[in-house]
Symmetry: C2
Subunit: 915 residues, 2 copies
C-alpha cells in the first residue's frame, strides 16, 4: 500500500526537509524542525500524492486515505493525550495547505478545527477563558463556512458588524463571551441557510471536509493566477498539514508572529519580524492589525525572544539560506509553526548571496544560483532623481516594504487598476487599506502598491517583493476611502487618477510625478557578483535598441552589441513620418524614389547615432519590416469621415472640411476627392491578415528601392564614422525570409550599394548580410538559406505566431482559457515553447551549420530576456541572445547560470568517476 501520510511529533518525523515534492514546503519544514528537536506542535502531513489522487478521482479522496488518516489522528491523539473535539481536554487542530513551491496566502487554511457545541464548553472550562473559547468557535464556523462551504465572507461580517454596532464597540476584542455566543447562533443559521445543512458537529467530518477544501483551494482563481505568474505546473497539487493547535490568543502572555532571519527587502543581516500579542496567526499575515516590530518582544519576553533567535539562527545555518518563519507563543511557551526559504527582492538576493559567501555559509559557485536571473534586472530599475528628491516634500510615510520607485495614478480597486492599464491610461499606483489575495490581478499591473494597514510581512509586502515591485505598507497617516475612490491625508484629498510617487526604499509617499534617473549598473556589489558568474557564460548577450539612448543604456548594462535595430521605428518620428507616408502613397517607382531620397539623410542620421554609441561592437540592422498600412490612417475612419462630409451642408460642412484638411494634411488631402483617393490607396493596401501579408523582405522585393535607400543610409553612416576612426560593424538583417532566393535578391542589393558607397569613399569595411529565421519554412530550409546567409537571427516572436498559428494581437481572448484548461503551460510568447518552436530552432541551427559551419546564430525577440528561454538557447548552441536593454543583465546571468550548472554537473560527474 502506498504511503499517504507522514507523522511529525515527539521529537521525530517520518519525513524530512528534502521531501518537498511529497510533503510540500510547509510539511517538509515541519518534519525537519521536528527532527531537529525544535518545539513544533505535533501533527501529520497528507501528501501531495493524495491531492493528485483526489484530482484524478473526480475530486474525491479515496477511502484508503481516510482509513490511514484515522490511524494518524489516533496517533496524534495518543501523543497529546486528547481526543479531537471531545472530552474535557479536546484536541483542536489546524488544517493548512502547503505546496512544493511556496504560494503565500494563495490557498486556504482552517484553524480551531474540532470545536463544536460540546467541545467549546470544555475549552471554556479548561482555559478558564470563555471569551477565548467562543471567539475560537466563531472563527472556526466563519472560516469553515467560507472555505469549506463556500459561503461569502461578507455574510459573516454583516452579522459580526451588526453585533458590534448593537453593542456600540469598535474593536473585536471588546465583544464579550455572551455576544460571541449570540454571533455563533447567528452564524449557524447562516450556514444552514446557505449550505442547506447544519454546521457539522462531528469533528472527524470537519477534518475530512477541511482537507478536501484545502485540496480544492489549489484550483481557486488566485492560486491559479499565481502559478501562471510563477510558472508552476497545475499538476503538482498541494499537501495538507493537520497540526495540533497552539493558541496565540489565550491572553497577554500569548501571541503570534512571523519573521525573517535577514531583511527580505534589502538583504541586510538583521533579525527581522513582527508579532501581535493575544492574536491568531491570520491576524498578522492578513494585515488586518498592524503588528509590532520583533525587537519589542525582547523587552516583553526576553527568554522567548532569545530562544527564537537561537532557533532561527540554527535554522538558517541548517538550510544555508534566509528563513521565513512563523511562531506562536502560548502562555509564555514558544512554538515554531513554519520555516521556509524566504522570498526576497533582487537587491536583497544579491546582498544575501554576497554576505553568505563572505560568512562561509555558501561557496561562490553556489552564490551564482542564489540570485534569480528574472529578478536581477530590478537592480537596474530607475530610482528617483536625488536632486528632485531632496526638494520634494513627502505627504505621507509608511514601511519600506519593497524597494523601487513607482510613479502612477491612484486607483482604489484591483479592477480599476486592470481597467486603467488595459485602456492604456498610463501607469497606476494601487492604493488599498490592505491588500488581499483577490487583489493579485491589480497588483500585477500596478506600478506600485500603497497600503494604510499591514506590516513588512503583510500580504502586500510579501507579494510585491516576489514581484520585484515597489510597495509602501502600513502608511498609517493616510486614510483610504475605497468606495469614495479617494485618499485622505490630513486635509489633503487625492482622487482616482491623481499622480503619486512612491519611494519603496524610504517608505515615503509624494504627490505628483517625481523625476527618475537610471540605476547605476556599476554598483560594486553587482559587479563583483557578476564577476563570479560571467566566466561561465558561453552565450553572447546583445540588446534590441532602435535609438542611441537605448543603445547606450544597453552598452552600460553589458550588452555586447545590438542584436536588433528596427528601422521602422525610426520612421515614426516627427519630420519623417510624412516622407514615409509619401513613399507609401506614391503612384509609381519615380514618386517612391523621390520620397525615399528625402528619407535617406534622416535615416543616415539615425544610423550614425547608433553606430557611434556602439563603437567597436556589432550592430544588427533589420531592413523595413511592418505592413505599410501601419503608417496610414484607419480605413474605417476615412469611410466614416467621408460619410460625415457627404451628409453635412452649409457652415457645418465647411467647418468639417477644414478639420479634415488638417487631420489629413500629412497625406496631401485637400478635399473630398483627395480623401476618396486616400481611401482607395488605403483599401489597396488593406490586408485580411497583415501578419501574413506584404511585409518583411516582401516589401524589399516588390520595392527594391526601399532596401537600396536603407543600405545606402547604413553604409554612408558607416563611412562617415570610419573616417572619424570609429569601428563600425554593421550586420544587415533581412526579415521574413522563407526561401534562399529572397535573401539572395535582397543581398544583391545590399552588396551592390555597399560596393558603390565604399568604393566611392575608398574605405574598406567588414559587414555581414544575414537573415531572420522567423517563419517555419525558413527553419525547415535553413540548410539552403545558410548558403546565402552570413548569420541567422531567430525571430521567435513571429516564429511562435506562425508555428502555433496564434496572432499575438488576437491571443488575448484565447490565452486565459488555454492556460486554465492546461492546453498551454505558459504563454508561448513569454517563454519559448521548446517542443514546437524550439524544435524548429534546433533544426534551423543544425542544418544551417551543416551548410556553413561558421554560421553565427542569434535570437532576437522577447524570449531573449526570459531566463528559461535563455537556458534553452544555451543548450541549443546559439552564439548570442538579444533582448531589451533592461533585460541584458537578466540574460547575462541566466546564460551564466545555464553554463555554470552544466559545468558544475560535469565536474561533479567527473569527480564521481575518478573517486
Amino acid at each position: 500500500m502506498a504511503k499517504y501520510l507522514y507523522f511529525f511529533g515527539g521529537g521525530r518525523a517520518e519525513g524530512d526537509g528534502k521531501m518537498k515534492d511529497v510533503l510540500g514546503g510547509k510539511g517538509a519544514g515541519l518534519a525537519e524542525m521536528t527532527n531537529a528537536g525544535l518545539p513544533v506542535p505535533p501533527g501529520f502531513t497528507i501528501s501531495t500524492e493524495v491531492c493528485r489522487l483526489w484530482m484524478r478521482s473526480g475530486r474525491q479522496t479515496p477511502a484508503e486515505v481516510d482509513i490511514e488518516m484515522r490511524q494518524y489522528l489516533e496517533r496524534l491523539e495518543a501523543l497529546q493525550g486528547q481526543k479531537l473535539g471531545a472530552g474535557e481536554n479536546p484536541l483542536l487542530v489546524s488544517v493548512r495547505s502547503g505546496a512544493k513551491f511556496s504560494m503565500p496566502g494563495m490557498m486556504d487554511t482552517i484553524l480551531n478545527l474540532g470545536l463544536n457545541d460540546a467541545s467549546v464548553e470544555a475549552l471554556a472550562r479548561r482555559s478558564r477563558n470563555p471569551r477565548f473559547a467562543y471567539d475560537s468557535y466563531r472563527r472556526l464556523i466563519q472560516m469553515f463556512g467560507n472555505v469549506v462551504l463556500e459561503i461569502e465572507k461578507k455574510e459573516f461580517d454583516r452579522v459580526f458588524d451588526a453585533k458590534k454596532k448593537q453593542r456600540r464597540v469598535q474593536l473585536d476584542t471588546e465583544l464579550r463571551a455572551e455576544d460571541l455566543k449570540q454571533i455563533i447562533a447567528e452564524y449557524k443559521k447562516l450556514v444552514k441557510k446557505h449550505s442547506g445543512r447544519d454546521f457539522p458537529q462531528d469533528a472527524y467530518l470537519q477534518l475530512q471536509m477541511a482537507r478536501d477544501a484545502v485540496f480544492r483551494s489549489w484550483f481557486n482563481e488566485r492560486a491559479y493566477h499565481y502559478r501562471r505568474m510563477n510558472n508552476i505546473s497545475d499538476d503538482l497539487g498541494t499537501a495538507a498539514n493537520v497540526q495540533a493547535m497552539v493558541f496565540g490568543n489565550l491572553g497577554e502572555t500569548s501571541g503570534t508572529g512571523v519573521g525573517f532571519t535577514r531583511n527580505p527587502a534589502t538583504g541586510v543581516k538583521a533579525f527581522y519580524g513582527e508579532f501581535l500579542m493575544n492574536a491568531q496567526g491570520e491576524d498578522v499575515v492578513a494585515g488586518i492589525r498592524t503588528p509590532v516590530p520583533i525587537s519589542e518582544l525582547k523587552m516583553l519576553m526576553p527568554a522567548v525572544y532569545e530562544q527564537l533567535r537561537q532557533i532561527t539562527t540554527r535554522l538558517e545555518r541548517h538550510y544555508r539560506d534566509v528563513q521565513d518563519f512563523e511562531f506562536t507563543i502560548q502562555e509564555g511557551k514558544l512554538y515554531m509553526l513554519q520555516t521556509r526559504n524566504g522570498k526576497r527582492t533582487g537587491r536583497a538576493a544579491l546582498q544575501i548571496a554576497m554576505d553568505m559567501t563572505a560568512e562561509g555559509l555558501i561557496t561562490r559557485d553556489e552564490a551564482i544560483f542564489r540570485v534569480d536571473a528574472g529578478q536581477i534586472y530590478e537592480l537596474l530599475f530607475p530610482r528617483f532623481d536625488p536632486k528632485t528628491l531632496a526638494k520634494a516634500e513627502p505627504i505621507a510615510a509608511g514601511l519600506p516594504a519593497s524597494p523601487g520607485a513607482a510613479v502612477g495614478q491612484a486607483v482604489f480597486t484591483a479592477a480599476a487598476a486592470v481597467e486603467w492599464v488595459e485602456k492604456k491610461r498610463g501607469p497606476v499606483v494601487l492604493v488599498r487599506g490592505e491588500t488581499t489575495p483577490e487583489d493579485i490581478h491589480g497588483m500585477e499591473v500596478a506600478a506600485g502598491i500603497l497600503t494604510s494597514r499591514g506590516g513588512m510581512t503583510s500580504h502586500a509586502a510579501v507579494v510585491t517583493r516576489g514581484m520585484g515591485k515597489c510597495c509602501i505598507a502600513g502608511a498609517s497617516g493616510i486614510q483610504v476611502d475605497e468606495p469614495g475612490r479617494r485618499l485622505v491625508i490630513g486635509k489633503q484629498v487625492l482622487k482616482e487618477g491623481d499622480w503619486l510617487s512612491l519611494d519603496g526604499s524610504s517608505g515615503k509617499v509624494y504627490a505628483g510625478q517625481l523625476a527618475t534617473v537610471p540605476a547605476d549598473p556599476n554598483d560594486p556589489m553587482l559587479l563583483e557578483f557578476m564577476s563570479w558568474a560571467e566566466p561561465f557564460r558561453k552565450l553572447g548577450v546583445r540588446a534590441n535598441a532602435d535609438i542611441p539612448r537605448d543603445a547606450r543604456a544597453a552598452r552600460s548594462f553589458g550588452a555586447e552589441g545590438i542584436g536588433l535595430c528596427r528601422t521602422e521605428h525610426m520612421f515614426f518620428g516627427e519630420g519623417k513620418i510624412e516622407h514615409m507616408r509619401a513613399m507609401i502613397l506614391a503612384k509609381d517607382e519615380k514618386e517612391r524614389r523621390a520620397a525615399l531620397k528625402r528619407l535617406l539623410p534622416l535615416q543616415r542620421r539615425d544610423f550614425l547615432g547608433i553606430f557611434e554609441a556602439m563603437d567597436g561592437l556589432p550592430v544588427t540592422i533589420r531592413t523595413l519590416d511592418p505592413p505599410l498600412h501601419e503608417f496610414l490612417p484607419a480605413r474605417e475612419q476615412i469611410m466614416v469621415d467621408l460619410e460625415k462630409l457627404a451628409s453635412a451642408s452649409g457652415a457645418a460642412k465647411r467647418k468639417l472640411a477644414g478639420e479634415l484638411r488638417k487631420r489629413y494634411a500629412d497625406y496631401g488631402v485637400r478635399d473630398a476627392a483627395g480623401l476618396r483617393k486616400l481611401l482607395a490607396r488605403v483599401e489597396d493596401l488593406h490586408e485580411f491578415n497583415p501578419m501574413l501579408g506584404l511585409r518583411g523582405c516582401r516589401l524589399g522585393i516588390l520595392y527594391p528601392e526601399i532596401t537600396e535607400m536603407q543600405a545606402r543610409a547604413i553604409f554612408e553612416a558607416a563611412v562617415a564614422l570610419a573616417r572619424k576612426g570609429k569601428q563600425v560593424h554593421p550586420e544587415i538583417m533581412i526579415p521574413l525570409v522563407g526561401t534562399p532566393k529572397e535573401l539572395e535578391l535582397q543581398k544583391e542589393i545590399v552588396n551592390r550599394v555597399a560596393g558603390e558607397v565604399l568604393s566611392q569613399a575608398g574605405i574598406k569595411l567588414d559587414y555581414l548580410v544575414g537573415t531572420m529565421i522567423e517563419l517555419p519554412r525558413a527553419a525547415l530550409a535553413a540548410g539552403e538559406i545558410a548558403a546565402q546567409a552570413q548569420f541567422f537571427s531567430f525571430g521567435t516572436n513571429d516564429l511562435t505566431q506562425t508555428t502555433y498559428g496564434f496572432s499575438r494581437d488576437d491571443i488575448g481572448k484565447i490565452l486565459p482559457v488555454y492556460l486554465k484548461t492546461g492546453v498551454l503551460k505558459q504563454d508561448p510568447f513569454a517563454t519559448i515553447d521548446q517542443e514546437g518552436v524550439g524544435k524548429l530552432v534546433r533544426m534551423g541551427v543544425e542544418s544551417g551549420r551543416k551548410t556553413r559551419p561558421e554560421l553565427k546564430v542569434g535570437i532576437c525577440g522577447e524570449h531573449g530576456g526570459d531566463p528559461a528561454s535563455v537556458e534553452f538557447f544555451h543548450r541549443a548552441g546559439l552564439n548570442y541572445v538579444s533582448c531589451s536593454p533592461y533585460r541584458v543583465l537578466t540574460a547575462r546571468l541566466a546564460a551564466a547560470q545555464a553554463a555554470a550548472a552544466e559545468a558544475l554537473s560535469e565536474k561533479a560527474a567527473e569527480a564521481g568517476r575518478t573517486r
Copy 2:
C-alpha cells in the same frame, strides 16, 4: 570547348530526337527528321545552353558562340551553294525559338532573314517574282522591327493600311510590287525614327540580333505567363533554330500548312490539318486567314498530299505518338518544318491512348501515362442537356476547336474578361475576331472562347485545347466589333454582358444560358482505361463535400469516402444563418445554448443527407472552423450606417431607419441603440489576423457547447440511419490543433456525447476521432498528438499559410512578383512546396506512425487534386487524398500513375539485376 551549335542537313544531323534538353523540341524534331531522310530544309540549332549563358552574362551572347555560329553558317552556305543575303542567289533563313517544352506561339520568330536592299533585288530577279521578293522584304522589316527593335506592330500596320486605302484595295495580295517598295521605304523610316538606327543591311548582324531577340522572347510576358500555367521552369531557356527559308508564298504551286496525325480535339484517327496556298507559315497559325482543310490538298496536289501522309504516318510510328507537324510546299516540292508530339484535349488523349494500344503501337502500361491526370477531369465536364439542346436554335456555327459546354456573358477583350471575373460578375465567354498570344490572361479566366476567324489549328484552338477549355473557332457568320463591344450575327446584335452558350463539340453557338447536365462517369472507354491504371494505385481517394449532391457526384466519380465535410458551410443556408448569428451574438452560455438547440435539428438533417449518400463509406466531418465574424456584417459598414443615421433627419431619417431595420433584421436590430450594440459585439469579435485568431478547435474549447451540439447532430443522424440498416462510418475531425491537449479536450466532448446518444439508442457504432494537421506545431508535435488521434488529415492549405507566413487572401499582390523573380517556382497553394510544407508532412507522418503504427493519414485541401502533389503524397506514404468531387478522377489517375511509375521502374531494375 563546349559545343553550342548542332547542324542538320544533307541527310544527317549532329543531334537527334532525344536531345530536347539541348536542342529544344523543334530542334530535336528537325534533327530526327533529317536523320530519317525526310525533306527538311537544312540549318542549325543554337542550343538552350547558349540561352542560359546569355541569361547569366547579363543578356550578352558570348563571343565564342559567335565564332562557332559563323562556322556553322558557312557550312550551311556551302551546303546550299548560297551566301546569306548576298550574291545572285542569296541564302535567306528563318530564326525560330524552340524550348524543351512546347510553348506554341508564345515566343518570337523571324522569317526571310538575309534580305537587304541588294539581296531583295537578286531575289526578285532569281524568282522572277518581284512582288514576292518585296513582300518578303517588307515582312522581314516588320518582324525584325517588332521583335528585335521592339517597335509596336501597329506602327507598321498604320503604314500598310494607309497604302491599301490609298490604293483602294481590300486584300494584302492586291498590292503590287511598286506599292510594296513604297511601304518598304516608309518602314525603314519608321525603324530609323523609333530605334535611332537604320534597318541593318548586314545580314550577319541581322542574324545575331535576331538570335538574341529570340532568347529575349523567353522572358516576354505571355511566355512567362504560359510557363506559370504549365509549371515550366524559367531557368530552362530556349534554343534558336536557324534554317534555310523555303517559301510557301512563291505563287499558286506554293503553300504552307499544319496538321495532326489524329484529331487533337476528339482523338479520332483521321488525318487532320489545314493549309493555305501562296502564304507564309505565320498566316496559318496566327488565324489571320481561315485556312482550308487538308483534304483539299489531295485534289490540288495529289502527289504532295500522298507524300505528306506517308511522312507523317512514319513520324507517328517513329515517335509512337500523335504528331503535330508543319510543312511548306515551295513550287510543288514538300518540306517538313516541324514535328512534335501533339497537344490534345483530355478526351482525345484518352481516345488516342486506347486506339494506339489496340493498334499495338504502345502497351497498356505505357497507355496509362498517355493521359494527363490534370486533364482527365475534362471528361467530367458538364455537357448541355440533350433535351434542351434539341429544342435550342443555334445563332451561329464555327469549327469545334475544343470540346465542352461553356455558358457565359460575352466580353470582347482579354482585359474585360479578367475584370468581369475579378469582380465576380459571373462567367464570361471571350469573343474575338482572332485571339493573339496577348489574350492569354483573358482566355485563362473565360469559360469559353469564340472567334470569327482562324481554323482548328489557330492560336485560339491550340491554346484552349491545352487548357481543356471549350472553343469555337472561325465562326464565319459572325462579325465581332471589338471597339463597339458587340457581336453582330445577321440582324441580331449581342452586347457585352449578353449570355452565350457554346457547344465545343458541335461548334454551335446559342444565345442565352442553356441548361447543362453532368457528364457520364460511366463512359465505357474511361472505365476501361481506369481499369488498366487503377490496379497500381495505393493511395485512397476521397472527396471534399459539404452537401449530399456533391457527395453523390463524388461517389459517382469513384470517391472512396468523404475526406472533408466542412460543417460551417451548412450554417450559411437560409433558415440557419439567423440561428448561427444568434449563437454568435449570445451574451452568455445560456443564450448560446438556446441558439444551438435551434441549430441542432437543422445540422442533424444535413448529416443525414451526407451519411445517406455515402452509405457504407467513411465520412470525415470537421467541427466548426472559421472565425465567427465571418457570419456577421462588416464592421466598417455598421460604422458608416451609424454615421448616416446620426446625420440624417426628418423623413430621410425615418426612411433610412426603416432600411436599416430591414438590413439588420437577422441580428435583431430595431434602432440605433441596437445597431450600436451590434457594432460593439462585432468590434469585440474583430481580429487583426483572423487566420491566426479565434477559430478551429479554439472555438470548441472556448465554447464547448458548440462541439457538443455538432457531435450530437452527427450521432443522432448516424443512429437514425443505422436503424434503417445503413452503414455509417463517421470520422470526426478536430481542426487547428497545435497541442495534444486541445485534441484531448475536444475528443472528450465527442466521446461523451457519442456515449450518451448511442447508449440511449442502444446502438453500437464504430467511429473515429482524429485531427487536422494544419499548423507547423501540429506537425512538429505529431508524435504526441498521435497518442490522442485515431487519424490525421493534413490541411495543407492552412499549413502552407503558416509555414510560409502567406495569407491566401493577401498573396495576390506578392505572388506574381515572386514567380517572376524566381523566389517561387509555382504557386504553393496549387502545388505543394515539397522542401518546406512537404517536409512537415513527412515529419508528421513519420512521428505520428511511430506513436501509433496503424494511424490513418490523409490530406484534404486543394493539393489533393493536383497531380504533382498527389505524386508527392504517394511517396510520403499517406493513406488517402481528398479533393473536390470533380478532381476525384484526376487524383485517382495521378495516384495510379505515381504507383505505376514506381512499380514499373522497380520491375525494370529487377529485370536489370537478373539479366
